[in-house]
């Protein structure tokens, strides 16, 4: 990342952090004149507390799809407050939510400031839509309430998404804006949450205060269950990843290999339009693709000469044992299958694992894993050869495209890595013969450290871009 680019980003951030709060305060001030504050005050406080709590604890369902039940609470509140005070009441609720304890403790100013304005605008617009529909139709009819809040929730989702995309594109440039295809993922849950939120509001209007504890209990037990499910799922991922990372860390040559392969595979998957579960499967397969090697004695892995037949069989035996172990975990089975096929070639050659057939190309997921694995192998220092350059590795991937690798996957990977502007491998030009000679001369360790430094610089660059 160039310093002048960072300075430009900083200026853009400051502009946004000033403009958005001003707009937010202006909208809130204007609303105070045209609307009443919701009564009774404790009811508003209750809704505001629920909304703020849920916004703080958005649960990650899988990958990019966030379930933020906050929108449901805000729709219930809109119906409960009634048309005279809904917009003001909900905008005031939204204004509170950006001040998250973690941001305040970390003295981060940009996100809270921008979100403050952004959420006020989002809430006012979407609740305005709800009030408008209800004033044009029958505000006491249950179906209209449900429909109006469903439309309001979708408005909320889309306005929120567009505003965030606008901010991100202004600050970080256009490449980080997620494609519109993600919007369909937003719309469906928002329709459901808005619909239900409206109905719960109608229940309150018909039943009175006694409905509040019931709604709260049904809602929060569901939320708690979902949260503990999501946490457990996360725990499972981090346990597996952490384990593999810790086990690898004992070895300078393979340190971080799995993590990088998972990162590259994820990158290729995204570039090829994977999302949700499929992307997650690719990532998990990458995480376990080398787990079998953990059971192989180190001196066998580090051998500089070719393995004898017995040694090779011993190694495969260990790898198969571990695969069998992981196959006992039902949900890991598809991932183990992909992982075991990552040495299979696109043209049907190479080593085929579980359910792989010689002469047939392996699954797309296994082909992705093969490219990611080979690229990392080439750009890292191994016992038999020091790291090669990124350009050389690209050339090699292309050269074996169609035989060993799937050419589409290779091109997707090169495009994604180039767009991300990341650099791996040896920082200086080196030929393959030279790389092998240096490893033999015992310069491997030093070179491995060199390559690690390049990677660290690359990591710092990406962190700066996302921080």
């Amino acid at each position: 990342m160039f310093p002048n680019e960072l300075a430009r980003q900083h200026r853009a951030k400051v502009r946004m952090a000033i403009a958005f709060p001003i707009v937010g305060v202006a909208v809130l001030g204007a609303l105070f004149f045209v609307q009443d504050f919701p009564r009774p005050l404790w009811l508003w406080t209750l809704f505001a507390a629920a909304f703020v709590f849920l916004e703080w604890k958005a649960v990650e369902v899988n990958d990019k799809l966030f379930a933020s039940p906050g929108v449901m609470v805000i729709m219930t509140a809109a119906v409960v407050f009634g048309p005279e005070s809904a917009v003001l009441g909900c905008a005031a609720m939204a204004a509170l939510s950006p001040f998250q304890p973690e941001d305040i403790r970390g003295r981060r100013w940009f996100q809270p400031a921008v979100n403050f304005g952004q959420l006020i605008v989002t809430a006012s617009l979407s609740i305005g839509v709800v009030s408008l529909i209800l004033s044009l139709t029958d505000a006491a009819s249950i179906p209209w309430i449900a429909v109006a809040s469903a439309i309001g929730a979708v408005t909320y989702g889309i306005v929120n998404y567009r505003l965030v995309a606008f901010i991100v594109s202004r600050v970080y440039g256009h490449k980080d804006v997620a494609p519109w295809s993600h919007v369909t993922q937003i719309v469906v849950p928002f329709v459901g949450m808005g619909f239900l939120g409206g109905l719960l509001g109608a229940t309150y209007l018909l039943l009175g205060t006694a409905a509040i504890p019931l709604i709260a209990i049904v809602f929060f037990t569901g939320y708690l269950a979902f949260e503990s499910y999501a946490r457990l799922r996360q725990a499972q991922l981090s346990t597996l990843a952490g384990f593999i990372k810790a086990l690898e860390a004992k070895d300078l040559y393979t340190r971080g290999h799995t993590e990088r392969v998972a990162y590259f595979s994820n990158m290729i998957g995204e570039e090829m339009g994977f999302n949700g579960n499929r992307l997650e499967t690719v990532r998990w397969s990458a995480l376990i693709h080398d787990v079998g090697k953990l059971a192989v004695p180190r001196d066998l892995i580090r051998k500089k000469t070719r393995l004898t037949k017995e040694e090779y069989e011993e190694m495969q035996g260990h790898v198969h044992h571990v695969e069998d172990l992981l196959n006992e975990v039902e949900f890991l089975r598809p991932m183990v299958e992909i992982a075991s096929n990552h040495h299979a070639h696109f043209d049907g050659g190479g080593y085929h694992g579980t359910n792989g057939n010689r002469g047939e190309p392996p699954s797309l997921e296994a082909r992705i894993l093969a490219v990611a694995d080979s690229f990392d192998a080439m750009t890292s220092t191994r016992s038999y050869r020091v790291a090669l350059t990124q350009d050389y590795s690209f050339k090699e991937l292309r050269r074996y495209g169609g035989t060993q690798f799937d050419p589409e996957v290779v091109e997707a990977f090169i495009a994604a890595l180039t767009a991300a502007g990341e650099q791996y491998g040896s920082p200086v030009e080196i030929t393959e013969q030279e790389a092998r000679r240096r490893a033999e001369a015992g310069l491997g360790q030093e070179h491995a450290l060199d390559a690690m430094r390049t990677r660290r610089r690359a990591d710092e660059g990406t962190e700066a871009a996302h921080g």
Binding site: I142, A146, F195, L196, L199, L200, A202, T203, L206, L207, G208, A210, A211, P213, L214, I215, I217, V218, F219, T221, G222, L224, A225, F226, S228, Y229, R231, L232, R233, Q234, A235, Q236, S238, T239, L240, A241, G242, F243, K245, A246, L247, K250, D251, V291, L294, A295, V296, P297, R298, D299, H318, H321, V322, L325, L326, E328, V329, E330, F331, L332
Partner: protein
């Protein structure tokens, strides 16, 4: 399993159900206040609804499956306004679903103990609800909705407590399970119970004011919670399997004896349950026992083998590996401590060492004595007793003896 107690409970429940069914239906039919035909229709309708929903079950954190029938019974209690009709519907539904379950083998996933616990507790719910409603109605000046809520809360609490007591009673037949453990296990289900009660009450109340929309208002959020409970329980199973698989990598690599981690965890969990540890502690202990030797994977490195290592090193390396997973911090700490003696000379009690890590130490040593020194179970247990001055906590050793006696591995 707890055969004789389940049998005793079965007879008791049958008698209670039949008696209450006869009384309720008889009273309802001869009571002049109720018009017999609509009353009977109500009872038949709700019997059907409760019977049907009784077969929808949700896995609760304790491992037992709870039936949605209680949710339907709560809705019935709110909508019927008639204790006799409620009692009759619940009784008929319980008899019907019981007959269906035992004769036609539908919904056989639930154990008899689960089923009985639900049945008895549901009858109790119907009784308590009716009395609580009358009591609140007479003594306090509340809106009807709040009165209903209060009665549901009191009756729901009674239902939950009785269910936990019955579950503990049935489980206690196994002398190797402590009452405290069983009781805490049943209490873990509070969230599932609460969401069923609230969904049932919300459905009943909403039905009266908004008709069919009540289905969306009460059932949609419950369905969401239900899916979440299902997913949680299946993820918990796969999480355990994942840990088990990872823990066996050193064994597959030939760096630790085959099956040691599984056997250690099996014995350790049995001891912990016998000693009445809390269910969450038992889960942590299970994971820690499975992974207590995972540090041995480091022995893969020839340089380390040459340099030599101690048991403490293995424990420390294992703890470091496990600590990489943020969710497993306590487990990592247990693994780090599990090789330590339970006290040192001159110290009566070492507060730093938790009971769970002492249990792992005993369970692991018991298995090692059999595998490495080829001792019999009695000799291995004797080793543990001999070492209980400093190495092994005598309370854990005593518990191990009781577990082995219960399992029939050793005589008294």
């Amino acid at each position: 399993m707890a055969e004789s107690r389940i049998k005793a409970l079965t007879i008791a429940a049958w008698i209670a159900l039949l008696l209450s069914g006869v009384v309720f239906v008889a009273v309802g039919l001869i009571s002049p206040a109720a018009e017999a035909v609509p009353w009977l229709l109500d009872v038949i309708l709700w019997s059907f609804v409760i019977t049907g929903t009784a077969f929808i079950t949700v896995p609760a954190p304790s491992g037992s499956r709870l039936s949605l029938g209680i949710g339907a019974a709560v809705a019935a209690s709110v909508l019927l306004h008639d204790p006799i009709a409620l009692g009759a519907s619940v009784t008929i539904a319980l008899v019907a679903s019981w007959l269906i379950q035992t004769r036609i083998n539908v919904g056989a996933r639930r154990s008899d103990g689960d089923y009985l616990a639900d049945a008895l507790a549901m009858v109790l719910y119907a009784l308590v609800y009716s009395y609580a409603f009358e009591l609140i109605d007479m003594s306090a000046d509340l809106t009807p909705t709040w009165t209903v809520l209060g009665a549901v809360a009191i009756a729901g609490f009674a239902w939950f407590s009785l269910r936990a007591v019955v579950a503990a009673f049935v489980g206690l037949e196994r002398s190797d399970l402590a009452g405290r453990y069983l009781w805490l296990l049943a209490l873990q289900d509070w969230a599932v119970v609460l969401s069923m009660l609230a969904a049932g009450a919300l459905f009943g109340l909403a039905w009266e004011v908004m008709g069919l929309w009540a289905v969306a208002v009460a059932i949609l959020p419950y369905a969401f919670a239900h899916t979440a409970f299902e997913r949680y329980s299946s993820t918990r199973v796969t999480y355990g399997q994942t840990i088990k698989a990872l823990a066996q990598i050193p064994e597959v690599a030939g760096l630790a004896p085959r099956g040691h981690s599984t056997r250690t965890s099996d014995v350790a969990v049995a001891i912990a349950q016998e000693m009445g540890l809390s269910p969450s502690a038992v889960t942590e202990l299970e994971y820690a026992a499975l992974m207590h030797d995972v540090g041995r994977i480091t022995l893969n490195e020839p340089a380390i083998l040459r340099a030599g290592f101690t048991d403490e090193d293995i424990a420390r390396w294992g703890a470091q590996i496990i600590a990489e997973a943020p969710y497993l911090q306590t487990v990592s700490e247990l693994v780090r401590l599990q090789h330590r003696p339970y006290r040192s000379p001159g110290v009566e009690f070492d507060p730093e060492i938790p009971m769970t890590s002492k249990i792992i130490k005993v369970a692991s040593a018991y298995d090692q004595a059999q595998i490495e020194q080829r001792l019999s179970p009695v000799e291995s247990l004797e080793r543990i007793h001999q070492g209980s001055a400093y190495e092994f906590d005598p309370r854990v050793a005593a518990s191990l003896r009781r577990v082995l006696v219960f399992r029939g591995v050793i005589a008294h």
